[in-house]
């Protein structure tokens, strides 16, 4: 089920009303929300619910065992087995085809000819997010940061529908404590929730889908048909599209959770205003960044152990971050670029006392980020190369139109404005009375849905990850 659809518009009001009606009776509330979340997930494919249920029971069993065991060696083995099982699940569903094809090609070119069987395996929606959250639970139990939750609480944590399919990646230690007592019905952030839902809808439907339709899909599909001005515009348009698509989804997810009384971590903080790559990663997909930091970078040794090891750890983390997005060399290259520029940035900071002007730092960071999106978006590396090779052909601009340029400039420009006046405007909107909030939500839904084509809302980009 996708958020901006008729099915969800019917599903959510019923679930919200019943959720608050049952909130004080937790024995009824928890199974109800668990069931609602499974209904939400089954809309994609009922078989995916079996996998979700199995992952819940498997990780819960592991967490209980880890907690009960005193011997640190055994505990370590248990957590390793649980993490391997989770990653194995991810590997089968997400990476099998990718590696099977490439290993087959390698064996074939070496004349070994031992083909790995090919299979077209359906990718369960949101599997990467589910796996990461499951790992965070067992690892945090192993690290004694949290105690194992009740199975229903852990089941709710993994399946809670607002964050089920595309995050934000909520940690067990952030969510499960919120289940320990009923949410306070007198402390609901209604205004911020409605603001986020409205903004999410506008970003996704009116900006991201519009740019995809008008310029990104045509140009990235067949770059050979376009010359440099169109290709350049398409690269900037994709940078805006992916930001608005993904942050739009998380805005809606966070807003829905707030209406239900739950607080999720922030996932984006105006990333295109970053003046360093480190800053970019503190602003872009923040829940993935901190996850990779805590579960990959720091366990690898982090910045302890000298320059070389720091650089190595950074590269491994970013390459894995790239691969997490999907089984394609384009994602690996994207991760490599982000790792390499952070290593260079660290070296530059340590070795020179030069301090370039702020605008130059922003300009460099922003444009390298845009450049790195090209292999991320192109379905094949060869197509990314085709795209880049068009930069040498200064033909006519056939895709430039005022609305497209205005949307791109606004989406980037708004991130560069100072925060305080923007916050003041936002708080004024959030403070209007509930009926006025409902009217604003209605108007935005009508206007935004009017821009949807007859084919419906395009799937969120991160659903595929």
């Amino acid at each position: 089920m996708v958020f901006p659809t008729m099915q969800f518009a019917i599903f959510f009001p019923i679930v919200l009303a019943l959720s608050w009606a049952l909130m004080s009776r937790q024995w009824a509330w928890k199974p109800f929300i668990l069931a609602a979340s499974y209904v939400f997930y089954s809309a994609a494919n009922p078989m995916f619910c079996v996998l979700l249920g199995a992952m819940t029971l498997g990780n819960q069993g592991a967490a209980k065992l880890i907690h009960r065991t005193e011997d640190e060696k055994v505990r370590r083995r248990l957590v390793a087995a649980a993490v391997a099982l989770d990653l194995g699940t991810l590997g089968v569903f997400k990476y099998y085809g990718f590696f099977a094809t490439d290993i087959n090609s390698l064996l074939d070119s070496a004349g070994l000819g031992m083909p790995i069987p090919l299979a077209a395996i359906a990718l369960p929606v949101g599997i990467s997010f589910i796996v990461f959250q499951a790992i965070s639970y067992t690892v945090d139990v192993h690290r004694r940061i949290i105690e194992p939750a009740k199975v229903v609480d852990f089941g709710l944590y993994l399946s809670f529908f607002p964050h089920l399919v595309a995050g934000p990646i909520v940690r067990a230690r952030e969510f499960i404590p919120q289940l320990s007592k009923p949410r306070n019905p007198r402390m609901v952030a209604v205004g911020p929730a409605v603001f986020l839902i409205v903004m999410g809808l506008v970003k996704k439907v009116a900006v991201a889908d519009y740019l995809a339709r008008e310029i990104v899909d045509p140009v990235f599909g067949v770059p050979q048909q376009f010359s440099a001005p169109d290709v350049i515009l398409a690269a900037y348009a994709y940078a805006v599209q992916i930001f608005c698509d993904f942050s739009g989804y998380t805005d809606i997810a966070i807003g829905l959770a707030l209406l239900m009384g739950f607080e999720f971590p922030q996932n984006f903080d105006r990333p295109y205003r970053a003046r360093s790559f480190q800053e970019f990663w503190r602003r872009w997909h923040m829940t993935l960044s901190r996850y990779l930091r805590d579960f990959v970078y720091i366990p690898l040794g982090g910045s302890r152990g000298g320059k070389f090891k720091t650089a190595r750890n950074l590269m491994i983390t970013m390459l894995l971050g790239g691969l997490w997005h999907g089984a394609a060399w384009g994602f690996v290259l994207w991760g490599f670029i982000h790792g390499a520029v952070q290593v260079i940035e660290n070296q530059f900071r340590e070795r020179t006392k030069l301090s370039p002007p702020e605008w130059l730092k922003w300009f460099l960071v922003f444009n390298i980020v845009v450049l790195a999106w090209i292999p991320f978006r192109a379905p094949e590396l060869s197509q990314a190369w085709d795209f880049l090779s068009r930069l040498g052909d200064w033909g006519p601009a056939t895709m430039w139109s005022t609305p497209v340029v205005v949307v791109i400039v606004l989406a980037i420009g708004l991130q560069l404005l100072p925060l305080r006046p923007m916050d003041a405007l936002r708080v004024r909107f959030e403070s209007i009375n509930p009926v006025a909030l409902a009217t604003a939500l209605t108007v935005s839904i009508i206007v935004v849905t009017a821009t949807i084509s007859s084919q419906g809302v395009a799937p969120f980009i991160y659903f595929a990850f």
Binding site: M6, Q7, A9, F12, P13, L16, A17, W20, N104, S105, P115, L118, A119, A120, I121, A122, L123, E174, R183, P185, R186, M187, V188, A189, V190, G191, P192, V194, L196, Y210, G221, V222, Q224, Q225, I254, L258, L259, G261, E263, F264, P265, Q266, M286, E380, D423, V427, P434, V435, A438, T439, L441, T442, I445, I446, T449, T451, S453, S454, Q455, G456
Partner: protein, 341 residues
């Protein structure tokens, strides 16, 4: 929330004061009521486009009272007119639809005359006269036409051919609720003026077809096939634009699901029957090699290597499969047009 420094929340910024849960429910339910008043009829319209199943039943069940509320206030149409300019869809006015009596099928009791157009010269052992220049190709259809459209566009770009990609996801010839292909095909040839049309559609077929007097024929018997073939033939007639254009109509590679196979077999039979009078211009491009003997397979040998050619849904072609299909279409284009050889 714990560990606020590492896990900033939206609520860490200045926000409005919290309200009550009751206010959250008021906001959502007032929104629902306003939407029912202003756009209530669209619920049923959306429901009609969904595939049969629980989701469709639920949406249609909600659609009836929502439509009733909208009719009570009578502002639904006005809201539609106010926001119509925002729609990215092409307006399909001007007739030519499948239900348009002016262009409906011929009297079935009359004997249809056979014309030379029913014969591709190559079928008769005659020499074909290739067309010198191919300037514009339209690749269209439903989700099946993706990523075939990209594969073809890439191959044709180097030959100086402009490729117009116009996929309409989720649509079908047997379902006019979402899109009337009769109208759309007329608009496509009028707007894009293509020399050749590559058409690949059939992932959303099997809807009942009207057979007159308010009754409908269910898929996939002879009556349904004849009604479907009439629609297909009408589109072929539109696309071939007299005798000027060449149309490459792809048959469906057998899907994995048994229910869908039944529909695919019927659709493929109708394509062949519908193309009969126009064989001189309409090429039926057989995709049967993906599923020899009508048996589904996810992979097949490509350049001597076993290669996955289908997507996990068991319906669509993946990039490699689309590349194979594009090669077949290119071969047919090369037969007809010298400029792409």
């Amino acid at each position: 929330m714990s560990d606020k420094k590492n896990n900033p929340s939206i609520l860490d910024r200045p926000t409005a004061r919290p309200l009550r849960a009751r206010d959250a429910i008021v906001v959502i339910f007032v929104t629902v009521i306003l939407l029912a008043i202003l756009k209530g009829n669209s619920v049923t319209r959306v429901g009609d486009t969904l595939k049969p199943g629980v989701q469709r039943d639920v949406v249609l069940a909600v659609g009836h009272p929502a439509g009733w509320i909208a009719d009570l206030f009578g502002v639904d149409d006005d809201v539609g007119k106010l926001t119509a300019s925002l729609s990215p869809d092409q307006s399909l006015s001007g007739g030519g639809g499948f239900d348009d009596p002016a262009t409906a099928g011929a009297d079935s009791s009359a004997v249809a005359p056979l014309t030379p157009d029913a014969f591709d010269p190559s079928m008769l052992g005659e020499k074909t006269t290739p067309i010198p220049k191919l300037s514009t190709v339209l690749v269209t259809g439903d989700s099946l036409s993706q990523p075939l459209d990209v594969e073809l566009a890439q191959r044709l770009a180097s030959k100086g051919v402009k490729t117009i990609r116009d996929p309409h996801l989720g649509t079908g010839i047997s379902n006019t609720d979402l899109l009337d292909w009769g109208q759309l095909s007329q608009q496509q040839v009028k707007k894009d003026k293509p020399d050749a049309i590559v058409f690949f559609l059939g992932a959303n077929e099997g809807f009942p077809l009207p057979k007159g007097k308010g009754k409908s024929a269910a898929c996939c018997g002879p009556l349904w096939a004849s009604l479907y073939a009439t629609r297909v033939r009408k589109m072929m007639a539109t696309y071939r634009q007299g005798r000027n254009n060449r149309v490459y109509w792809l048959t469906l590679p057998m899907p994995r699901d048994a229910e869908r196979q039944k529909i695919a077999r019927a659709v493929n039979a109708t394509i062949i029957a519908a193309a009969q009078p126009y064989r001189a211009q309409v090429r039926v491009v057989d995709m049967g090699f993906f599923t020899p003997g009508g048996k589904y397979r996810a992979s097949m040998p490509v350049n001597g290597k076993d290669t996955l050619v289908r997507k996990p849904d068991g319906i669509h072609l993946n990039e490699d499969g689309a590349a194979v299909a594009a090669d077949v279409v290119m071969d047919r284009l090369k037969t007809d047009y010298t400029s792409v050889r």
